[in-house]
Amino acid sequence: MSVVAVDNLALRFGDRTLFEGLDFELERGELLAVLGPNGTGKTSLIQILLGLLQPSEGSVVIEGCPPQERCHRIGYVPQQRVFDRDVVLRGRDLVRLGLDGHRWGFGRFRSEDRARVDASLAEVGATAYADAPIGRLSGGEQQRLRVAQALVADPVLILADEPLLSLDLAHQRGVVDLLDARRERSGTPVVFVTHDVNPVLHTVDRVLYLAPDGWAIGAPDEVLTSETLSRLYDTDVDVLRVRGRVVVVGTPDDQHVHHVENGH
């Protein structure tokens, strides 16, 4: 049985349609990259999967249950947003919130909870700075803690919304490897929203491309082609493979799509 089943999903704001007729299923162990320019509903799709946004049409089922009923833990890794320098929070506390921050009351000290937090911190290699105030850590360190926070509750699904934004290449690779390792070991499927497919290209099973004039889903080699993207953008788009990287040329905003980083 698939973990996520998306059926005939549509999202409209007023008379603007972000996407419609969206159909796909996500199997255990699968990594789906969601690509596309800004304003095509990538983040909204994540919000729908989290149960925070109602679709205009269609349905989503996660392990047999609609997302807004929250039957299952979902690990969510957001865009890296730097914490305030003064916030009273350690990495350990952030991860702990991912475990039981939604529960009422003060919470009792339980050694098995502490052990889970410790294991999660170790899994992402954050043990060394787990007790430092989080506002004084680097963006890359904070984002590793975010991954630990998403993994600690043993989620059935991981949703990552531009988790690599404003990270340097080493930390980008680190975050991707952590999510990939989790998927390998536990079979937890990952939905990975990104404007640049290259950092995840080696681990991606399928790509969902959301464009202004439609969407396409399939293996990277099927979707990331000149034909498919030209159809989706309704204009001539060239998809080039340069040293194992995908470069898209000719989209109305190709600054934002699969841009090539400096020096690589």
Binding site: L50, G51, L52, R70, I74, Y76, P78, R81, F83, D86, V87, V88, L89, R90, D93, L94, L97, G98, D100, G101, H102, R103, W104, G105, F106, G107, A128, Y129, D131, A132, P133, I134, R136, L137, E141, Q149
Partner: protein, 293 residues
């Protein structure tokens, strides 16, 4: 030096009233500071003043007026759940209007000048036994509320995006924290007065957050600083007969300055030796530089 005072009943009452207000203020302060609600504290407090003045005009207990005024504003601000600049300017507009209304009420009541002064700057030694009992009841409600809501409230204060994704009811918690804050402010007004509520709700929490990165320790420190400032301030004012609020604000500010100095000094020490670190200890220094108590 205080022994002769400690025999007096009114001193006991004042110390207990101060303790209740300080504990709840210090506790809620850590959430208020984490959510950046300092200006809202000031606004709710000023509307407490309007409520008190209104109560005097229609001839009811001013404490009821304080509670009514601050709860009303707290509810409105909580329901609006505004963010950033919009919240700032909306609060400013409401605050100014409320104060204007308060001035009218005082004029209508033909209040003696001391009434306004006591409201604005506090009159802890005038607390009656009934008032103390009410303070204790309201204080218990706030502490119970904070205990029940602790984890989701903390989650939504420091990490609202993930909290929402995990199903934490952000908006309901925003209303709840504003209502608990309004109750707290109504308590603090009776000790330090409308204009100085920030000294119990903001200053101790702001000092605590300089001293530690541990949330529960920050909570305890904030309560301790509020408590020591209030109790010491009351005793000193009885000894010296200067205004109580002066001593309370001065002591709590001294804690704040000291906390900043400690934090600054710690930052300096952890940065300075970085260049001298031996290769073997490099890994721990890289992250340990930020470690705090």
């Amino acid at each position: 030096m205080f022994s002769h005072l400690l025999a007096e009943h009114f001193v006991h009452t004042a110390l207990w009233a101060g303790a209740v207000a300080a504990i709840v203020s210090g506790a809620i302060g850590v959430f208020v500071v984490a959510r950046g609600m300092s200006f809202a504290v000031h606004a709710i407090s000023e509307l407490g003043f309007t409520g008190a003045a209104g109560a005097l005009v229609i001839g009811i207990n001013p404490v009821t007026g304080i509670l009514g005024g601050s709860l009303l504003v707290g509810l409105v601000l909580g329901l609006l759940s505004l963010r950033g600049r919009e919240r700032d300017s909306a609060i400013g507009a409401v605050l100014a209007f409320g104060l204007g209304l308060g001035v009218l009420f005082l004029w209508l009541y033909q209040a003696p000048a001391t009434t306004a002064t006591n409201l604005l700057f506090g009159s802890i030694v005038g607390v009656s036994d009934t008032q103390l009992r009410n303070l204790a009841i309201v204080g218990a409600i706030v502490l119970l509320g904070l205990t029940l809501l602790y984890r989701p409230l903390f989650f939504s204060s420091v990490d609202p995006e993930i909290a929402a994704a995990r199903g934490v009811p952000i908006r309901a918690l925003s209303v709840a924290i504003f209502l608990l804050l309004a109750l707290t402010i109504a308590e603090a007004i009776q000790v330090v007065g409308v204009l100085l509520v920030l000294t119990l709700v903001i200053t101790p929490a702001a000092a605590a957050q300089r001293l530690t990165g541990r949330p529960t320790l920050a909570l305890l420190l904030s309560v301790a600083i509020a408590l020591v400032s209030t109790e010491a301030g009351i005793l000193l004012s009885l000894e010296k007969s200067w205004p109580t609020s002066f001593f309370i604000t001065t002591i709590s500010f001294a804690f704040y300055v000291a906390a900043r100095l400690v934090d600054w000094n710690r930052g300096r020490q952890s940065r300075a030796p970085a260049a001298l670190v031996t290769p073997g200890s490099g890994a721990s220094a890289a992250s340990g530089g930020a470690t705090s108590a």
